[in-house]
């Protein structure tokens, strides 16, 4: 009688070997430290700058840019939320403090960075 599990095991075995052969032993799949490209350099320049996010529901979030990934998930620190852009510009109302937030670019209407040179205080 045929025994399918055995065949499966054999296929698995070969696959595993293939996988090993394809992958160079020297680099781990999660080691990106060496990778550089123009885009990455541009992103690195943006770190610690103020971002303004306009969400799909018109809320405005201001925060410091900390982190991103391939899917353009943006992590901001010390974020404040305003109900809309007008409220932000008028500064009549205190914002809601949200803290550390993450948002995907798909949920944004627009993304702005503050280009004004600000002296960052050293702590």
């Amino acid at each position: 009688m045929e025994s399918p599990p055995e065949v499966d095991a054999e296929v698995d075995e070969t696959r595993r070997i293939d996988h090993k052969q394809k992958e160079p032993a020297s680099t781990s799949p999660f080691n990106f430290s060496a990778a550089t490209s123009p885009g990455r350099t541009e992103i690195q320049k943006l770190f610690n700058k103020e971002f303004k996010l306009i969400l799909k529901d018109d809320r405005v979030v201001i925060g410091t840019f900390f982190c991103t990934d391939k899917d353009a998930n943006i992590v901001l620190g010390g974020a404040r939320e305003y109900e809309n852009d007008a409220e932000f510009t008028s500064r009549k109302k205190e914002p809601r403090f949200v803290g550390l937030v993450m948002v995907n670019i798909k949920n944004l209407k627009a993304l702005f960075v503050d280009t004004k040179e600000v002296q960052t205080p050293t702590y």
Binding site: P29, F30, F32, A35, P38, G39, R40, E42, I43, Q44, L46, F47, N48, E50, K52, L53, L55, K56, D57, R59, V61, I62, T64, F66, C67, T68, D69, K70, D71, A72, V75, G77, G78, R80, E81, E83, R91, P95, R96, F97, V98, G99, L100, V101, M102, V103, N104, I105, N107, L108, A110, L111, F112, V113, D114, T115, K116, V118, T120, Y123
Partner: protein, 749 residues
């Protein structure tokens, strides 16, 4: 410090000072498309971040546009964002309320008020009532005075909670953000509020009388409204008493107000109420209105209604206040105070009344006031804590070294100093214990276990001091006075109290499995309560001995004096007599302990018999380790000398000795000799039955009416069950904690 740390720090301390000032501006550049291109160059799984930012940090971020995490999405659903917005959009009306509207608003806001007292956030409960944001803008006088009263009530409760300081985060949130606008609101004084409320009440009563003859429900509604105004007025007056205590007549007045409140709440509860639907649709409430003020990770869910009816809760609360009125009398010595707290005081289960109890106790004993002159006479107004403790010890065991009127003591070197140091260290422990008894049950259990260690160390000191003083008293020729066990018995009494309550709280919190009950009751019966009863008996003996010896010594001193001085000596002696006479006798404490001792004994024997009969199904034996459970449950008592910890081996031995001496253990019995086992199991059940009967007989000496009824019913029921079990072995037994939280009733099934 880098930016991330700074942000996290600001998040932790909850301040936002990273917004730029008004004068500063931004120069925004749109990078939406660029950013997408740049990130597309990255690889799957790659993370570009500032140094020290890890994936773990990213995981703790709040995801915007996510329905579960993003509160901002909810904010868009709000009907109104502020009081002004509500007024402008005609959602809030400022005058022309109907009587139903008044009632609905009051009932719903009071229910929110109760939710807040039960531990929910103030911004999500009390202040979802939008009128509270600007009561001064309300034109309608009735509504205005009610809103101002509610604010005053909120403030009064908050002050009580803070002063009592026995709440934990699960009981009450004192630091939760208050509405900013409350700072702008000035609450009128109590006199003004009371007057306004009286006027409101009169208006309602007038309407009630006017409409009484007419058909329809309106007259009844006006009457209900009048009752609510009266309730608010009286409650506010009552709570204010505790925030500005002073006069000695305070408790008489509190008692009178409580009676009025009880009557009013009863009337309100019995009157027809508005339906849930009407309450839910009341205008003026916006549950989401303060959401923007809460920290981002704050729990969002707050129940809209109470489990029990608002006024049923208030009725319960006021009944507890009535119990509190009795407290000042009982807070004369530690013994009577603890007795009160563990008997009648056990009903205080709301955070507010627990805080009130602490306030009342601190009115009776000033824990912070250190006695200058020790030992001194107990002052009538407010004894310092040291005087309170030394009075307690003197009344408990008649420690000679703490007696005021023994001039011979001054000749004993260091006697007064040592006694003072000892009493001072007892003050810290005693105040701590009193505070612990104000906590909620779960916290109390933990805190009691911690405080045991402190009592244990002071127990050592107490015994050493007793020994030293005994030698010194003999050297000073104060024969007849006995210091053995004077300090030691007092500390031991408190320690055993804590130990027993620790185990009883475990029963109260339903921590123990049925299979664990046996060693709990056995430990209480054979070790803790047994020791405790002995300790009290010894202390009582020492007290009487010293009392007599002291009198004898003074008579002798009086005889040698001249007649004029004799009179003074007599007066002084009368003082001693008076002190000892007013000290609570040990009768009630002893009776209560003996009752508990008998009850624990009864359960110990009953469960033992049930075990032998194989009627208790424990966990599967291969998966169970009783030894481990034993040590886990009694861990708090390990490494304690007084009383020495009884380890599992001894417990096993006790079980087996019992089995060997009187009864044959069931597991070694061959099946055919089952008949032989009956008298033995019957023995255990008989002893259990006797213990139940004895316990019931002692109830009359100490128990309050309510406890007496419950425990008496429990004893009678269990006595019958146990006797049935002794004759009929076929019935199964269940434990049901329905009559008393500490002791189950045995149910046949």
């Amino acid at each position: 410090m880098d930016n991330l740390e700074m942000c996290l720090l600001q998040q932790a301390v909850g301040t936002v000072h990273i917004c730029r000032g008004e004068e500063e501006s931004y120069e925004w550049k749109d990078i939406t498309q660029d950013f997408l291109e740049w990130t597309s160059e990255m690889q799957e799984g790659e993370l570009l971040s500032i140094p020290s930012f890890t994936l773990y940090d990213a995981m703790s971020a709040i995801e915007l546009m996510d329905h579960k995490m993003d509160v901002g999405l909810l904010l868009k659903q709000r009907k109104v964002t502020s009081f002004q917005h509500g007024v402008d959009s005609k959602w809030l009306k400022l005058s022309g309320f109907s009587v139903e509207e008044y009632l609905a608003v009051i009932d719903r806001s009071l229910s929110n008020f109760v939710l807040w007292m039960q531990g929910h956030c103030v911004a999500q409960t009390v202040f979802t009532f939008v009128y509270l944001h600007r009561p001064q803008d309300i034109q309608d006088e009735l509504m205005k005075s009610y809103c101002q009263t509610l604010l005053a009530l909120t403030e009064a409760v908050r002050t009580i909670m803070v002063n009592g300081s026995v709440f934990e985060e699960e009981d009450f949130q004192v630091s939760s953000p208050f509405i900013q606008s409350t700072e702008e609101i000035s609450i009128p004084s109590l006199a003004v509020l009371s007057k306004n409320l009286k006027v409101s009440e009169d208006v309602c009563s007038k309407n009630f009388r006017r409409l009484k003859s007419e058909e329809g429900q309106e007259a009844q509604l006006w009457n209900a409204l009048a009752l609510r105004f009266k309730f608010c007025k009286t409650l506010l007056q009552l709570l204010t008493f505790f925030n500005s205590p002073g006069s000695e007549k305070m408790f008489t007045e509190v008692s009178q107000l409580a009676d009025v409140l009880l009557l009013t709440t009863e009337k309100i509860v019995n009157a027809p109420e508005l339906s849930e639907e009407v309450l839910k649709e009341t205008a003026g409430f916006e549950p989401l209105i303060n959401l923007h003020l809460l920290p981002p990770s704050f729990p969002r869910h707050t129940p809209l209604t109470l489990e029990e009816k608002t006024f049923t809760f208030f009725h319960r609360l006021i009944q507890q206040v009535k119990v509190l009125v009795l407290l000042p009398e009982k807070a004369r010595s530690m013994e009577s105070l603890m007795f009160f707290l563990s008997t009648e005081g056990a009903v205080l289960d709301t955070t507010l009344t627990r805080s009130l109890a602490q306030i009342v106790i601190s009115l009776a004993v000033n824990w912070r006031k250190v006695s200058v002159n020790l030992p001194s006479k107990v002052s009538s107004a407010q004894p310092a804590a040291a005087d309170f403790v030394s009075f307690s010890i003197r009344a408990f065991s008649g420690a000679p070294v703490l007696l005021n009127n023994l001039p011979q003591l001054d000749n004993v070197p260091h006697a007064r100093d040592y006694a003072r140091t000892f009493v001072d260290s007892c003050v810290t422990l005693a105040s701590n214990v009193v505070r612990i008894y104000g906590m909620n049950k779960a916290r109390r259990r933990d805190a009691l276990a911690t405080s045991l260690a402190e009592w244990f160390s002071i127990q050592d000191d107490a015994e050493k001091l007793d020994e030293y003083f005994n030698l010194q008293l003999a050297a000073a020729k104060l024969n007849g006075l006995n210091h053995t066990f004077c300090f030691g018995s007092w500390t031991l009494h408190n320690m055993l109290n804590i130990m027993a309550d620790y185990l009883f709280l475990g029963l109260d919190l339903e921590l123990y499995a049925d299979s664990e009950l046996h060693f709990i009751y056995w430990y209480l019966y054979d070790v803790i309560l047994h020791c405790h009863v002995q300790a009290i008996l010894r202390a009582d003996a020492v007290l009487h001995h010293n009392e007599a010896a002291c009198q004898h010594l003074q008579d002798a001193a009086g005889d040698s004096r001249k007649n004029g001085k004799k009179k003074a000596g007599k007066a002084q002696r009368n003082g001693v007599d008076h002190e000892i006479a007013t000290s609570p006798s040990h009768t009630t404490t002893l009776a209560r302990l003996q009752t508990l001792h008998h009850l624990c004994g009864a359960f110990h024997f009953a469960i033992l018999a049930l075990k032998w009969q194989g009627k208790l199904t424990g966990p599967q034996q291969s998966l169970d380790c009783e030894e481990l459970r034993y040590y886990y449950r009694l861990m708090a008592f390990m490494e304690r000398n007084a009383p020495a910890f009884v380890d599992y081996g001894q417990y096993q031995l006790v079980k087996s000795v019992m089995a060997r001496n009187k009864l044959n253990p069931i597991n070694t019995l061959p099946l055919e000799s089952e008949e032989n086992s009956w008298p033995t199991i019957k023995d255990a059940l008989d002893r259990s039955s006797i213990n139940f009967q004895q316990a019931e007989r002692m109830l009359g000496i100490w128990a309050s009416e309510k406890e007496k009824v419950a425990l008496s019913a429990l004893c009678k029921r269990n006595d019958v069950t146990v006797r049935i079990l002794a004759t009929n072995s076929s019935k199964k037994v269940e434990f049901k904690f329905d009559l008393h939280p500490w002791f189950p009733s045995l149910k046949l099934s």
